[in-house]
């Protein structure tokens, strides 16, 4: 009886002594949708990290034989015999009468799927050279070559959409994230200066925020990206787009931070810190920002999906990431007209990834918001 009570007391004490973060973590664990979203995001980001290994082909590898082809079907039975998962090579037959092309499978020979095959070279995490890929197509049963596995089909040049989605996620998933972090620092710094000092600085900053907020995002975005010089390297382009995104997104964060500062800066603990000679910078980052950190994390998480959609739209219009650099938006350029979609519906597959990523960030943000709410 005694020990039981003590244990209860201890768990109670744990509860009361737990930091804000521990409590949030506990509540978040209970939020099923948020947990699922976290898992999905983890998979997506791991996928981006090991994209070279997971993708059977490289970004630019193309095969004229496979132009605009639908996802390769995977078979297990060859001529009534079980041989394990395999694919047939694609074959083009030109009808001499009317020059129409029919695409069919060459069923004379089967190509077994294999794990850990050698393919195009890459560097693991950008460091260790390697040419192993998770899966691929082996030699044909009669020693033939040239069969491909295109899980999501191919684009007009005959490039594997599956590989391109994976490799493109490196840009599509990291640009919004990087820009969220940059706009976080910009927003907190500028917002805190505005809220902490007040006066003329505050008025000027407020006007600037209002103006940037007033200009419709995408037109502003388009105008800014028009300034990206053509023919620059992928890394530079990445850098420019990130900067443009952060430039547009920091204002929301700054507004929130300013509001919080106005209400917190007259609290006694801030006064106490100031009286004991703590520097302004330290007061802001050590005493004030932690007080509403959870709130900021929520706004970051909920801001990312907007950036993902935004980057996709921009790249789709040819104003964001431009070929040869590849993001999901670039992949979607293939689906730019009704006829494209009607004849090659598989070209819409990248949109599933955009949607999943956006939904996952939204649900995660909602979950964190619920968890951070002390009244729930």
């Amino acid at each position: 009886m005694m020990w039981k009570k003590k244990k209860k007391q201890k768990s109670n004490e744990d509860y009361y002594l737990a930091s804000q973060w521990t409590l949030m973590g506990r509540k978040l664990k209970k939020h099923k949708l948020a947990k699922l979203s976290m898992l999905i995001l983890l998979i997506l980001y791991l996928g981006a990290l090991f994209a070279d290994f997971l993708a059977p082909y490289s970004l630019e590898e193309f095969d004229a034989l496979y132009k605009n082809s639908a996802p390769t079907s995977i078979h297990v039975m060859h001529e009534g015999k079980f041989v394990g998962p395999f694919v047939y090579k694609q074959e083009k037959v030109i009808n001499k009468a009317d020059f129409s092309v029919t695409i069919s499978e060459d069923t004379s020979e089967y190509y077994k799927l294999k794990f850990f095959v050698h393919g195009p070279e890459y560097k693991i995490l950008g460091l260790i050279p390697c040419d192993l890929h998770l899966f691929g197509v082996g030699q044909g049963s009669n020693g033939g070559t040239g069969a491909k596995i295109m899980l999501f089909g191919t684009d007009t040049l005959g490039r594997d959409i599956f590989s391109r989605v994976l490799l493109g996620s490196r840009i599509s998933l990291t640009i919004p994230f990087a820009s969220a972090i940059i706009s976080f620092f910009l927003g907190v710094t500028i917002g805190s200066i505005s809220g902490y000092f007040g006066g003329a600085i505050d008025i000027v900053i407020q006007r600037i925020i209002e103006v940037i907020g007033a200009v419709p995002q995408i037109p502003l975005w388009m105008a800014l990206s028009a300034a990206i010089p053509p023919g620059i390297s992928t890394i530079k382009m990445y850098f420019y787009i990130t900067i443009i995104l952060s430039f547009i997104n920091w204002t929301g964060m700054a507004r929130v931070v300013r509001g919080k500062f106005l209400s917190l800066k007259n609290e006694d603990y801030v006064m106490a810190a100031r009286l004991s000679g703590v520097s302004t910078w330290k007061i802001i980052w050590k005493h004030l920002v932690p007080g509403f950190m959870s709130y900021l994390i929520v706004s970051i998480t909920l801001g990312i999906p907007g950036s993902i959609v935004g980057e996709t739209s921009m790249s789709y219009l040819g104003l964001g990431i431009k070929s040869p650099a590849t993001s999901w938006g670039v992949l979607l350029q293939e689906a730019s007209s009704v006829t494209d979609v009607a004849s090659n519906p598989h070209k819409l597959i990248p949109i599933i990834f955009v949607t999943i990523a956006v939904l996952a960030f939204n649900f995660l943000g909602d979950g964190i918001r619920d968890a951070a709410d002390p009244y729930k």
Binding site: P216, I218, P219, P305, L359
Partner: protein, 376 residues
Amino acid sequence: MEENASKSKSMHEDLPKKTLWESVCDFFKKDLVQYIVKRLLMFIPTLLLISILVFFVIQLPPGDYVSAHIAALATEGEIVDADYAAQLRADYGLDLPIHEQYIKWIKDIIWTPTDSTYYRLYGSHHNWKYSFAYGKDVWDVVDDRLGLTILVTAIIMIFQYAVSLPIAVYASTHQYSVGDYISSVIGFLGAAIPNFILAIVLMYLSYKWTGNANVGLFSQEMLQNGVHLYNFGEFLKRMIIPIIVIGTSGTCGIIRSVRAQMLDEVGRQYTLTARAKGVPERTIVMKYCFRAAINPTVSGLGGVLSSLFSGSTVTAMVLNMQIQGPVLLKALQAQDMYLAGAIVMVQAVLVVVGILLSDIALAFLDPRIRYSGGGR
């Protein structure tokens, strides 16, 4: 008895006899006029800052306007001599220092004197410069589609509020019901799927079901004869896809925020007071909660307008709508920067006017704002 406020002493002395008109006058004389004047004064620096931002955008692309112009002429096979280029540079003030360029640009827009070449040529006092991509005066290009852009935006906006407010009220009064879940799932999806893809898919479906993809706002017949009463129905029919595509994402946002706001208000103490008075539930929801919940919605009107311009820009290109979005894209691709700048500026000014109007509407709706003198 205690703190009889002195500020409105003269206001209500003869109150019982006052007519409605008189009280309206009183109302205006006092705080509201002050408030509106204050907001109008704040409008001027905002405009100024917008113009600076736009000028900055115009300056961004590598090379100057005249070299882009000459390059454009060269592709058409015209040979431009150096004298003409120098003449153009002088006309546009491109050899001046940057701040003087800005002043010249803004001065020309506000008032071009009667004795200038521009006035003699175009008969207008507002010189927005020349668009080489269209071979016309910039303002003519902007004006061409301004009316339609505003009309389309207004129709979509009305649709958004007409759909989202009832759904939000329903969702908040039936929290965690099936309807609530459905509306939030659709809401999330609507925000997650990029506009342009939704547009293409809808066009495809429309093509499949009706045999007509409904591309563009006008039929061939309308383009010849203009829009009249008899073919206005056709115009509205062609608006369906744009309304769904551009409207949905915003609708979801409004539903989410109004629902949250309503839930907040439903939990307020005054609903309890009203209930204890014997007020019917319906009246509590509509008279008290909804009335309080729409205030933030009204103040968010400017933001909604801004996102509508953003959304319609991308969608218009896919749907080939005759509004400003595609013009902006064309201008940016051709680096016709004065035109691009003018469009961004016009849209930003429209948004700022929207914010101004919503602030004034808010002052009408929320008594607290009138008295505290506003400020957000």
